[in-house]
Amino acid sequence: MSSSKKEFIAEAEDLLEESGRLILEIQDTFQTGLNPDTINALFRSIHTLKGLSGLFGHQGIADLSHALESLLDEIRLGKVDISDEVIRFLFNNIDILRSLVEGLGKDKEQDVSGHLKNIEIFRNSLAGKAKGPELKGIIDESLLMVLSEYEEHRLRANIQEGKGIYLAKAIFQLADFDKSLEDITKIIKSKGELISTLPISANVPPDSIGFNLMFGSNQPVETLKEVIKFDIENLIKTKDVGVVPQPQKTQDATLKSTTTTVRVDIEKLDRILNTIGELTLAKGAVRRIGEELIETYGHSPLVIDVHKISQTLEKRLAELQNQVLEIRMVPIGQIFSRLAQVIRKYSREVGKQIELIMYGEDTEIDKYIAEEVIDPLMHLVRNAIDHGIEPAEERKRKGKREAGTIILKASQRGNHVIIEAKDDGRGIDIQRVKEKAIEKGLLEKDAEFDEKEIIDFIFTPGFSTKEVVSEVSGRGVGMDVVKEKLSTIGGFAEIDTEKDRGTTATLTIPITLAIVKALLIRVGAMKFAIPLTSISETVVISRNELQTVEGKEVYNLRGEMLPMTNIGRVFALAESESEKSFAVVVGSGNRKHGLIVDELFGQHEIVIKSLGEYFAGFRGFAGAAEIGKHEVILVIDIDALIEESVIKQKTKGVL
């Protein structure tokens, strides 16, 4: 794909994402008091998309956004009322645009004539509205003639809402009027709606510029006079029409093109990170040379210099790495708002009323990881709507609120972001999962499993407790895909469920990929790396302290029975003879596990490289890493390893 096309797709996707977010905001506020800036912003996004697609020669997208823009213009000018129907129509068209943009990536230009016709029909079906109050004779002609049609509509709307209409006359020095005008504009916007900003030069001292600022507000004149330090004329008095005061959003008009941000392809950042990774290896070598020099030549001045340089290098490299990682961070709210759109859309499709609550949208996460985590989350959420949340009737019978609730919550814990997707539906039928697992031969009939372990079976490939694949959650994609997708980014999912109380899926994902700190260990004759993020502690153990309980090897860690895995056995390596060994405690909560290893070598920064397609079927390894002196070692995938060992122990007894 050409880079200009790529750029177009990226920008178009951004605009559509923003549009979707704005329509959501309109949906949430149109009955209680909509901020006209929101509709304007939506209009502008689509307008920009139209211009952009025209410029890049994507006629279909240009035509469709043009038609949509016309509809939005009518909404903006108050010629069309906002209703649920209009909002649904807008959502659908954003989806169509999105699929057209996606199609470009696959070099598909689609025929949009059908969609254009639909918009045409829809626009015709919406009856025109009366214009609202007459303005001539009430407001001075000279003020009216400079209003654009849109501003005139806003003036009418303000009068209809019973707001007072005011005219503030400000005079500023020509040299620095922009700053002063910006200040007063902000103040006015915090007290009401700025309708028109008219610059004037008559009756103004030389070197000055005057502004007539027309605004609507339901605040008392005294309050306005207090904050706006200029002459205020009251053109129309406030009327009490019993309107709920509008929540004022002080949203400054933004002009994206004048911001200082640049758009960078994530691949370019990847390349920088790779280079930093290589540098990290070189840095390790310099350090090693420094140490060897000390051993050979003692602390001579030159040796100390090398040592110092190596330290500076280390510090700066860490800074550089952090800075690049920071650039890649995006707030998870971006993902949530996309999910929100899907939730609204699907809940309507299946006829379930769902209230969505989001927390922690500001939590930051690597852009790449964010993109990788959206599909698993989408799947979980669809599952919740489809299977979790009961139909209204059933909920009523159970004494629940008719509308189901889905909570999306993000928070940071150390180097991980925890995302919870929680519903208040019927929960997972554990008995049914167990039966199914036995039926599929994953579980022996009388094997003892606790609930949590049984629920984990839903992550097994091809496992589905609903035989009917529903249009919404199904499409043949199972929970195994969720798990697989998460493990490629070093994350994992846990499910908590309670009958009739609901299900919570907790995703634990690393904040960032790229360079990780790892503990180097030895088992038999092999060295491995374990990412530090999965390790909680290491302890010295003696082999005879290991006990066997119900076929599982456990270790008594401060009174807690810690299940143990012998890495040597899992990977079929020569057993170690030594009595003294170490336990590396990994995972947390219910997934806590001990790994028996022979030796610990300490921390090392590693860049995990994929093992490539040839080894794709291998389980238990996250990849390979170079640790200097051209030595390559395998990096253990803790999650897969624990699972492998648990399954082996459970189904066939200890190997």
Binding site: T48, L181, S201, A253
Partner: protein, 122 residues
């Protein structure tokens, strides 16, 4: 060399207009992304022509036209309105305020070029 001020909030349209205008000759073309910027640029040099959009946040094109036409220092500068076909009403108002001509977006290059040639007597 003649100076032309383009007032338009869309960067895409601005660069498009610039390209179209540059095709007919050498001009000193100045771009203002907002009405604010236009007001700041006005005293900085003598413009021979101003082309402005109508629908812009804060100071709109009509307000700008009104300001220019009522200020003796600028009132002789010819003004072209460049706005969308939906803004019939806005165009009428702009012409009433003293604009010289209008072009409807999306415009064809020769259309804008002809109008500019006529106004500047090229």
């Amino acid at each position: 060399m003649k100076s032309i001020l383009i007032v338009e909030d869309s960067a895409t349209t601005r660069s498009l207009m610039r390209a179209v205008i540059e095709e007919i000759g050498d001009f000193n073309i100045v771009e203002a992304p907002t009405g604010f910027d236009a007001l700041k640029l006005l005293p900085s040099q003598d413009f021979d022509l101003i082309a402005t959009d109508i629908n812009m946040p804060d100071i709109n094109g009509l307000e700008l036209i009104n300001f220019i036409k009522n200020n003796p220092r600028y009132s002789n500068i010819p003004l072209i309105i460049v706005t969308t076909e939906r803004s019939e009403e806005d165009k009428k108002r702009g012409m009433a305020l003293g604009a010289t001509a209008y072009v409807t977006k999306p415009f064809k290059a020769p259309e804008l070029q002809d109008i500019i040639r006529k106004i500047l007597n090229l």
